[in-house]
C-alpha cells in the first residue's frame, strides 16, 4: 500500500513534543480516508519512550548529529524521505522545525502548503483545511486539490491522546548521508532553557503581563502586584522581545508551558502562540481593554477595564 500521510516527528531533544501525537492522531484518519498508510519519520536517534503505534511505518533517518539542530540538515533528511516514499500528505507543525521545513520542501516539491491549520479533513479527493489568520481574528476555510500537499498545524489544535495508541509499526532505516553531506549547514550546540532564578512553571498563581503594559517603566506597577500576591511575574512574547523581562519569564510556545491554579493575564491579547503556553491553567482571569481580544475565548473570567485602573486596586486589596 502507498504512503498516504507522512508525519514529521519534530523531536530535537528530550521527549517527542505533543504536537507529533496530535499529527499522528489526525494523520490516521486522513490516511484511512485516502486509503493509504500512515508513516512517521524521526531523525536523530529514536525517542525510546515514544510510542508510534498508531502509525503503519516508522522511518528512522540515520546519520544525523543528535546533539544539535540544523535547519538545512533536517530539510535534507526529510526531503530525502519524501522523495523516496512519495506521500500524498505531509503533516508538520507551525513550530520552529515545521516552519523551517514546510515552506522550503513545499517549494522544492512544487506542492501546496497550508499554514496555521487548526483542522484538516479529507473530503473526496480534496483536503479541507481551516487556518487561523490575522492573529486568530479570522479563520480561513480552504481546499487543496493538488498532491503532495503540506499541512502545517498549530500546536494544541488537535486532540493528542489518540495519537499515542499502542501498536507496532514496521521500522525502516533510511540513509540520507549523500544529501546530508551536501547540505549547507550544520548544528553546533543545543542550549538548554535557563532554569536559574525564577520558575514560573511550578507556581500556583501567576501574574502575567503582555504588550498592553506599554513600557518597561510601567512594568513596575504589575511587579508590585506580583510581589503583594507573592506570585512570580510572567509575560507574553512582546514583553520579552522588548527586553522588559528576561527570557525565563516567558509563557508561550517559545517560552514555558504553565499550568497554575490561577493565571492572571494583564494586557495580553492572546495570540495563538501565547494561548498554547497557558490554556491548560485551571482558572484564567484576563484583563484587556479590547473586548474582542482572543484571550477572552479561553479565559474563565474577563474584564475590559484598563489594567492601569485595575492593578492598583488589586495591589491595594492584597497588599493592604
Amino acid at each position: 500500500m502507498a504512503i498516504a500521510v507522512l508525519v514529521v516527528g519534530e523531536r530535537v531533544a528530550g521527549e517527542s513534543p505533543d504536537v507529533t501525537f496530535e499529527l499522528l492522531g489526525r494523520g490516521r484518519e486522513l490516511a484511512d480516508a485516502l486509503s493509504g498508510e500512515l508513516a512517521v519519520v524521526v531523525v536523530n536517534d529514536l525517542d525510546e519512550g515514544a510510542q508510534f503505534g498508531i502509525a503503519d511505518v516508522l522511518y528512522v533517518v540515520d546519520g544525523m548529529d543528535s546533539a544539535s539542530y540544523s535547519a538545512p540538515q533536517w530539510e535534507a533528511a526529510i526531503g530525502a524521505v519524501i522523495q523516496r516514499v512519495s506521500p500524498q500528505v505531509v503533516l508538520v507543525s507551525t513550530g520552529t522545525v515545521g516552519i523551517d521545513l514546510a515552506g522550503a520542501l513545499a517549494t522544492k516539491f512544487n506542492a501546496p502548503l497550508a499554514s496555521y491549520v487548526i483542522d484538516v479533513t479529507a473530503q473526496g479527493d480534496k483536503l479541507v483545511v481551516t487556518s487561523q489568520l490575522y492573529g486568530g481574528k479570522l479563520l480561513s476555510e480552504g481546499e487543496i486539490d493538488a498532491f503532495p500537499a503540506f499541512v502545517s498545524v498549530l500546536p494544541g489544535s488537535l486532540p493528542v491522546e489518540k495519537g499515542r495508541a499502542q501498536g507496532s509499526p514496521r521500522v525502516e532505516h533510511i540513509d540520507a548521508g549523500d544529501q546530508l553531506r551536501l547540505s549547507k549547514g550544520r548544528g553546533t550546540e543545543l542550549r538548554e532553557p535557563d532554569t536559574s532564578g525564577v520558575d514560573i512553571t511550578s507556581a500556583a498563581l501567576l501574574v502575567s503581563v503582555g504588550r498592553g503594559i506599554g513600557s518597561k517603566e510601567n512594568l513596575e506597577l504589575v511587579a508590585e502586584l506580583a510581589e503583594a500576591m507573592k506570585a512570580p511575574l510572567s509575560a507574553s512574547r512582546p514583553v520579552i522581545d522588548q527586553g522588559w523581562l528576561p527570557k525565563p519569564h516567558q509563557v508561550g510556545k517559545s517560552g514555558k508551558k504553565v499550568k497554575p491554579t490561577v493565571y492572571l493575564a494583564f494586557g495580553i491579547s492572546g495570540a495563538p502562540e501565547h494561548l498554547e503556553g497557558m490554556r491548560s491553567a485551571e482558572t484564567i482571569i484576563a484583563c484587556n481593554t479590547d473586548p474582542s481580544a482572543p484571550i477572552f475565548e479561553v479565559a474563565h473570567y474577563g474584564t475590559t477595564l484598563d489594567l492601569f485602573d485595575l492593578v492598583p486596586e488589586l495591589t491595594d486589596i492584597v497588599g493592604g
Partner: protein, 435 residues
C-alpha cells in the same frame, strides 16, 4: 550677557609669588600660597562653555546659559518641588558637565511656563527643552513609553492609538444631532475640534457629549470633522517631535481647506495653543477659541433649569492660563452656575500648579515615577482638597483622568473631578444633582 555659546574663555591670573607692600609703612607681607593670593581680576568660572555652546546652537536653545542662578524658578517649578529637575539645577549641571541630550532630566519638564514667568533673564525652558529633545529623538534617545505614543500618533493621528474611524463614536451618546462635515459639508459657524481625549477617553467622551448638548441648546451652528480629524499635536511638538507636529499640521490644514467655517473651538488648551500661536508662524491663520471662551461669550443666553449646590475649586490649565492669558472665561462660567461656590486654591491663575500632563508628561507617568517623590497631579489634588471643595473643576481634557486617579491614590475620593462642560450641562438640564 553671554550669547550663543561665545562666552569668553576663563582668564585666571594667579601670582606665584605675591608680596603686598603697605603704601604707608613700606612694610611687606608675603601672601604667596594663601587663599587671597590672586590679586588680579579674573573671570569667576572654572567651567568650559562647551555644554552650553551645543545647546545654544539649536534654535530655541540659546537662553539656557543666560541663567545667573538667582533661584526665582525654584519655588514655582512644579517638578523641582518633587524631583531633581529644575531649570536652575539644569543650568548648573550643564555647566558642570551634564550631557542634557542623554539625561533623564531632559524629559521631566512639563513646559508649564511658570519659570519663564518669574525669570529675570528670560531663560525659556519652553523652547530649550523641545529643541534639545528634538536632537535626542533624532539620535533615537527617547523613553520607550513616549516612543510608542509618537509612533501611535504618526500612525493613527491620535496619541491613544485608537482607530481613526471611531473618532466620533462618542456622538452616539450625545442625544443630540452632531453634524460631521464629511457627510454634510455645508458651511458652518463653529468647527468643534474635539481632540484626542474628548474623542476617545471614556470620561472625555462624557464631556464632549455635554458640550454638544450645550451648543445645541444655545442654537450654535456647529459641526465636527469626525474621522478626518487628527490631533493638532502640540504636546508631541513640545515633547520634541517637531517633525510629527509639522506632518500633522500639513494634514490638518489640507482637511480644513475643504470646508468653510468661521472659527475653530476646541476643549484642549494644547490644541488651542497650537492654533493660536504656532500655526500662524507657518502661515496658517484661523480664529481659534477655547470652548470656555465661546460659552462665556454667550453666558447671558444660558438658561439653568436647576442648581448645582457644591463648593468648587478650579484648576487653571497651564496652556489656557499662563500660556494664553485666559483666566476669566472658566470662572465666569462657574460663577454663573446656580449653587456653585467658587473657592480658589493658593496656587491659581498665573501661579497655577501644573497637573504634570504638558510637554509630553501625559505619556511619561511611568518614566517620571522613577524620578519623582510624587506625581504632580497628586500634589495638585491635595491642594484642591485643602480648599474644602466638593468638586475640582477642570477645563483641559488631560485632567479628568489625571486628577481622578490622583484623588484615589491620595485618599481624596470624595473630591469629584468634573469638566466645566459637564457641570454646565447638569445645571442646564435640571437634573437632580447631589454630591
Amino acid at each position: 550677557m553671554p550669547v550663543g555659546g561665545n562666552k569668553q574663555a576663563p582668564v585666571i591670573t594667579e601670582l606665584e609669588e605675591a608680596i603686598v607692600v603697605s603704601p604707608l609703612s613700606g612694610r611687606e607681607w608675603d601672601v604667596s600660597g594663601a587663599t587671597s593670593r590672586m590679586l588680579e581680576s579674573r573671570v569667576l568660572t572654572d567651567y568650559g562653555s562647551a555644554g552650553f555652546a551645543r545647546i545654544a546652537a539649536l534654535e530655541g536653545g540659546e537662553s539656557l546659559e543666560y541663567c545667573y542662578g538667582c533661584g526665582k524658578c525654584v519655588p514655582v517649578c512644579p517638578v523641582d518641588l518633587v524631583s531633581e529637575y529644575g531649570p536652575r539645577k539644569i543650568h548648573r549641571r550643564v555647566q558642570t558637565g551634564l550631557d542634557l541630550f542623554r539625561s533623564d532630566e531632559l524629559w521631566m519638564c512639563t513646559t508649564c511656563g511658570n519659570c519663564l514667568r518669574v525669570c529675570p533673564k528670560q531663560v525659556n525652558m519652553i523652547e530649550v527643552m523641545p529643541a534639545v529633545r528634538e536632537v535626542a529623538m533624532a539620535d533615537g534617545t527617547i523613553p520607550e513609553e513616549l516612543q510608542q505614543v509618537m509612533e501611535k500618533t504618526f500612525r493613527y493621528g491620535n496619541a491613544l492609538g485608537e482607530n481613526p474611524r471611531r473618532r466620533h463614536a462618542w456622538t452616539k451618546g450625545a442625544d443630540v444631532e452632531v453634524r460631521v462635515l464629511a457627510n454634510d459639508p455645508r458651511p458652518v459657524d463653529v468647527l468643534f475640534y474635539v481632540e484626542d481625549y474628548w474623542s476617545y477617553h471614556p470620561r472625555g467622551q462624557q464631556a464632549a457629549q455635554a458640550f454638544a448638548r450645550i451648543l445645541t441648546s444655545l442654537d450654535v451652528d456647529f459641526a465636527i470633522l469626525g474621522s478626518e480629524e487628527k490631533t493638532l499635536g502640540d504636546s508631541q511638538r513640545l515633547a520634541g517631535e517637531k517633525g510629527l507636529f509639522e506632518s500633522l499640521m500639513e494634514q490638518v490644514v489640507e482637511v480644513l481647506s475643504k470646508y468653510q467655517f468661521n472659527r475653530i473651538v476646541t476643549p484642549d488648551p494644547h490644541g488651542f495653543n497650537a492654533l493660536r500661536k504656532i500655526y500662524p508662524k507657518y502661515g496658517h491663520d484661523y480664529e481659534a477659541m477655547h470652548y470656555s471662551q465661546l460659552l462665556a461669550s454667550m453666558i447671558d443666553r444660558i438658561e439653568f433649569q436647576g442648581t448645582l449646590d457644591a463648593k468648587v475649586t478650579f484648576h487653571d490649565p497651564c496652556y489656557l492660563g499662563r500660556h494664553n492669558g485666559e483666566y476669566e472665561a472658566p470662572r465666569k462660567l462657574l460663577e454663573a452656575i446656580p449653587g456653585v461656590e467658587l473657592l480658589e486654591m493658593g496656587r491659581c491663575r498665573e501661579n497655577s500648579y501644573c497637573c504634570g500632563g504638558g510637554g509630553g508628561g501625559m505619556w511619561l507617568d511611568g518614566f517620571n515615577s522613577n524620578h519623582a517623590s510624587e506625581r504632580l497631579s497628586e500634589r495638585r489634588v491635595r491642594e484642591a482638597a485643602e480648599t474644602g471643595a466638593d468638586i475640582l473643576a477642570v477645563a483641559c481634557p488631560y485632567e479628568v483622568s489625571r486628577f481622578e486617579d490622583a484623588a484615589k491614590s491620595t485618599g481624596n475620593e470624595h473630591l469629584r473631578v468634573m469638566d466645566i462642560a459637564e457641570m454646565l450641562d447638569i445645571a442646564m438640564r435640571a437634573q437632580d444633582w447631589r454630591i
